[in-house]
Symmetry: C2
Subunit: 322 residues, 2 copies
Amino acid sequence: MPENHSPKSTASVLISEVGPRDGLQSVQATMPTEHKRAWIDALVAAGIKEIEVASFVPARLLPQMADAAEVVRHALSHPGVCVMALVPNLKGAEAALRSGVHKLTMPVSASEAHSLANVRKTREQMIEEVRAIARMRNELAPHVKVEAGISTAFGCTLQGQVNEDDVIWLAEECVKAGADESGLSDTTGMANPAQVKRLFTRLRASLGEQAGAAHMHNTRGLGLANCLAAYEVGVRTFDASLGGLGGCPYAPGASGNVVTEDLVFMFEAMGVETGIDLERLFAARQPLSAGLPKEPLYGMTPEAGLPKGWQSTHKRQQVRQA
Amino acid sequence: MPENHSPKSTASVLISEVGPRDGLQSVQATMPTEHKRAWIDALVAAGIKEIEVASFVPARLLPQMADAAEVVRHALSHPGVCVMALVPNLKGAEAALRSGVHKLTMPVSASEAHSLANVRKTREQMIEEVRAIARMRNELAPHVKVEAGISTAFGCTLQGQVNEDDVIWLAEECVKAGADESGLSDTTGMANPAQVKRLFTRLRASLGEQAGAAHMHNTRGLGLANCLAAYEVGVRTFDASLGGLGGCPYAPGASGNVVTEDLVFMFEAMGVETGIDLERLFAARQPLSAGLPKEPLYGMTPEAGLPKGWQSTHKRQQVRQA
């Protein structure tokens, strides 16, 4: 391979797969537990190192997540994988901590309107919830990480624009309240690359290593461009969903997580290591489809296939070192 | 609108609509001439300033383009619009020049295998064709611009990787042979943002203002990310196709031009002026569908609609100046 086609890998990123939580939570059907297990196994086999496997919420509200503790237990059987769960409140956090997860993620909305619609709390009340969760974590399981994901950080379908100062303020307050990190979510698919760069630059200037993941949506087709923009200002953790499953059910008109397959292809093609084998990642669509036979799967790269002469960054490095 | 949501517009881009040529050439059906006219009118009404309206090729090979001269004549009735046509060879160039177009574009493939498959000529033979066309232009219509679009610049489905030195060499040779500008095309959807930045940086370093457009495909979902990458290294002209119509019929597996609607949304959302009204652009899908009723149209932004509180850069500037 000529040198100009195999740039030296100078960086790596962490792809955080959110499908088993964000994806499954957004569809009507409930995936049977054994299918969830098989899907998680396939994701791990492809090299995924962090998975948001469940949401700890009342089963009457989200029957799709009734088996959360069982799914966490199975995911924990894979060594080296960070097992995450979403918790909307202290009660969910307690159940999640007792299940043995490595990391909690809590959605905190920068839009007051979205916060009230999503969790029926103001932003200030959510900061207090983060504080209570962090305190409980310190008591029950001090090794567990707590992440606050600032949702509607780039705009809100209910209130329209969201003030950028508010977003940074909220992320800072969550970290002050005890969150280990705070990332930004484009819950409604309204972000653009210039805005992504501005906000993540400010977030990183303010929080340093406590600045968290970019969670982008592909609602208007800009998902990968926004991930690229975030990468260019130093973000190294990206949420994505296999087959693009999911979105936020409480944000009208929003749809479409970034497709893991396309995101991994983009980074690997750029020479940025993901540690993920794309062919195995495509294979992980099979257990997803088997467990949700009526759900359409998205993704351009699985459709088009890998380009002629494709090599992952890992294989390229092996060739170079041989 | 708070200042941090309305960045001062410091740049503008030219969106070159290729649907009436590239799109229509790639589908089986032939759009009737009156529908082509209505579609072009709708594109102009939306603010499109450059349109590739036809391809001058033998009607027996591409019956979709049999009315090329008539379509050019109609497009020329719109003042202020640059009317382009694709020509594969000297004979096509003569017909195009006699039709009165403002600009010719000629595909010159960086992949020898693709060049032979597409136009049955070697790359060196194509450079000579560019020279002959430029000479004819000088005689018949010296005000007409000639562009050489380097196709398969980022990879080839037939030969795999394409040497980056070859791409730059070919673009330079085309300009030496008399082309006014030379752009780069991701004919096969194999480009990635890092490669796009490398190649356009080299192209611009070598050709300066004679470095031409970025023609990206969305085959693996990276179309907008690649346009963003090109923009970031100074490219200001972007090819796109309404509804994502088209691709290259001679490159197996290739599909999907960048969707004009999504590209314009990305730039306008970033505060980069396109001069295009998105609502009117969405409306231009209607005459396209009317003329090609069986063809699926792509585009995430038309599906999702514009975000709440949306204002184009033009409207934002009017507000600021008022």
